[in-house]
């Protein structure tokens, strides 16, 4: 579904990611793990086209690396970005409508479904998104991303800054998505939680992939796990 080859990502003159390659198979959940500043979010930004990059990004057998942001998104990529970035001056419902901006035929049905999944969002449907708690904003950010019924979901740090109880809720939801065979690229600092859901994981450090393997190989490698949980 998503094949990234020899990707370099730039922020102005600075190269944040140095020639990484990885693959996300259809229906699988792949994690990018690593500490702050490892290049995880830069990688996501390169896939959506927000950050400048060189190398090849293949999505559904098509090279998307030169396409503008909106076109890549319309090919079926959705992103729940780091820091959630809900539209604070729009209501919950309006946020969801924008998420389904190019999926208009199904917007009403999907909004109803999300309100069923997250009753708290239904309760606050006309409230400005900026007034929601961090956890509610995270739920809204994920729901907004899925409003377009994407083929792949890029989830950037869904647990960031949230209470453990809320994190469990969010990961429960990601698990349900995975059970529905949604293809997911998950960026997380919380390696233990991420590995529990992932079919495959890549460990990034200083813009390079330093280790990769299945959740089991990571789990059985004590030295690696110590390093990862230390980072978490």
């Amino acid at each position: 579904m998503l094949v990234v080859q020899n990707l370099n990502v730039f922020h102005g003159p600075i190269e944040a990611v140095h020639g990484i390659s990885f693959t996300v198979k259809e229906g699988s959940c792949v994690s990018l793990l690593g500490p702050n500043g490892a290049g995880k979010t830069s990688t996501i930004s390169a896939i959506t086209g927000v950050a400048k990059s060189t190398g090849r990004i293949m999505f559904a057998d098509e090279d998307i690396s030169t396409l503008p942001v909106e076109i890549r998104i319309r090919k079926g990529i959705a992103v729940s970005p780091e820091g959630r970035r809900v539209f604070a001056n729009l209501s919950v419902k309006e946020n969801l409508r924008l998420g389904g901006a190019y999926n208009t035929a199904n917007v009403d049905r999907l909004i109803a479904e999300w309100f069923e999944t997250f009753p708290i969002l239904a309760e606050r449907r006309d409230q400005m998104a900026g007034t929601l708690s961090g956890g509610e904003q995270q739920m809204l950010a994920i729901a907004r991303a899925l409003m377009s019924e994407p083929r792949i979901l890029l989830l950037d740090e869904p647990s960031l800054g949230l209470a453990p109880k809320i994190v469990t809720q969010i990961f429960e939801m990601i698990k349900r998505l995975k059970e529905k065979r949604m293809t997911i690229l998950l960026v997380e600092q919380n390696a233990t939680l991420a590995l529990r859901l992932s079919d495959h994981a890549y460990l990034l450090n200083n813009g390079l992939i330093v280790a990769d393997g299945t959740a089991e190989t990571f789990g059985s490698n004590d030295a690696l796990m110590a390093e990862l949980t230390g980072l978490a």
Binding site: T48, V50, V69, E70, I73, R74, V79, P81, G83, R84, R85, V86, F87, A88, N89, L90, E94, R97, L98, G99, A101, Y102, T104, A129, G130, G134, Q137, R144, S148, L160, G161
Partner: protein, 298 residues
């Protein structure tokens, strides 16, 4: 009593003109952070279109008004495409200088290609009819201007609340990149902002022309200057702020005209801007400060 009602009507129609123009400036500023100094030239485009219509002996007011508004809208969208799109993601200063440049180029084009002298336009006679209304002296211009502005504001609110493009424009004021990440085309949002801004300038142009009766290359300068002030008073980048600022400015202006003694008549503007200076000491960011912070970012 009648005197007060009369002055309120005057204030409303002044304020309506400022509100229309301020709204046009604010919608572009809120989305791309561009202070569009070429807005006045868009108004002039509308004015010269009226002259052109007269030259073609098309004197039906509906055609003249429609053509002027259409020309202003096309003009604004063209400016976006030709001048502002290349500097869209550049430093705000670059955009500001581009707008200045565009303004100067257009003014000189009007000077060279049309005429430096004012040209009279007579086809807006329907805005000069007096309308008797319980003892008040209201012109059809005041009535049309106030009603049109109210309709425009209501339509704008519905557009921004109900349509996906409207929602995207509100969201873009806060986080444009995230709007693109929902798959909405940036070009469409920018073009729509300029289209709306141009339509508003075109509508305002009709009323400005009805008041002035003639067009010259600097037609838009004074009104747009006042619209800038209205934006600042209301809170730059805030759409409701632009409307409130516009009407407030109209009210202050009429109040000064009425309240100042005859001997100070020449200093009306000094008093208007003086009271605005006081207002800004009280609220330095304007009445409604637009939202600045992005969604929760930690």
């Amino acid at each position: 009593m009648e005197f007060v009602a009369q002055q309120i009507m005057n204030a409303l129609s002044f304020g309506a003109e400022y509100a229309l123009l301020a709204l046009g400036l604010a919608i572009v500023f809120s989305i791309m952070g561009l202070v569009n100094f070429a807005h006045g030239e868009i108004i002039a485009v509308g004015g010269y279109t009226m002259v052109a219509m007269a030259a073609l002996s098309l004197n039906n007011p509906l055609i003249v008004v429609g053509a002027a508004i259409l020309a202003a809208a096309i003009g604004a969208v063209t400016l976006e495409r030709v001048a502002f799109r290349p500097v869209r993601y550049a430093d705000p200063t670059t955009g500001l200088l581009t707008a200045f440049g565009v303004s100067i180029v257009l003014q000189n084009l009007f000077l060279l290609l049309v005429s430096p002298r004012p040209i009279a336009v007579t086809s807006l006679y329907f805005l000069e009819w007096p309308i008797p209304f319980v003892g008040l002296r209201i012109s059809s211009l005041q009535l049309f201007e106030t009603i049109t502005t109210i309709i425009v504001i209501v339509v704008m609110m519905l557009f921004l609340k109900r349509t996906v493009l409207g929602l995207a424009m509100r969201a873009a004021a806060l986080d444009f990149e995230m709007v693109r990440l929902t798959g909405i085309k940036a070009n469409r949002v920018f073009a729509a902002a300029f289209l709306i801004s141009g339509l508003l300038a075109g509508i305002a142009c009709v009323f400005i022309m009805a008041r002035r009766g003639s067009v010259d290359p600097h037609l838009g300068f004074d009104p747009v200057l006042m619209a800038f002030v209205a934006c600042v008073v209301g809170g730059f980048g805030s759409l409701p702020g632009a409307v409130i600022g516009g009407f407030l400015l109209g009210a202050i202006e009429v109040a000064m005209l009425v309240l100042l003694p005859q001997s100070l008549g020449g200093m009306t503007e000094a008093f208007v801007f003086g009271s605005i200076a006081l207002l800004l000491i009280w609220r330095p960011d304007g009445i409604l400060t637009p939202p600045r912070e992005k969604g929760d970012k930690q």
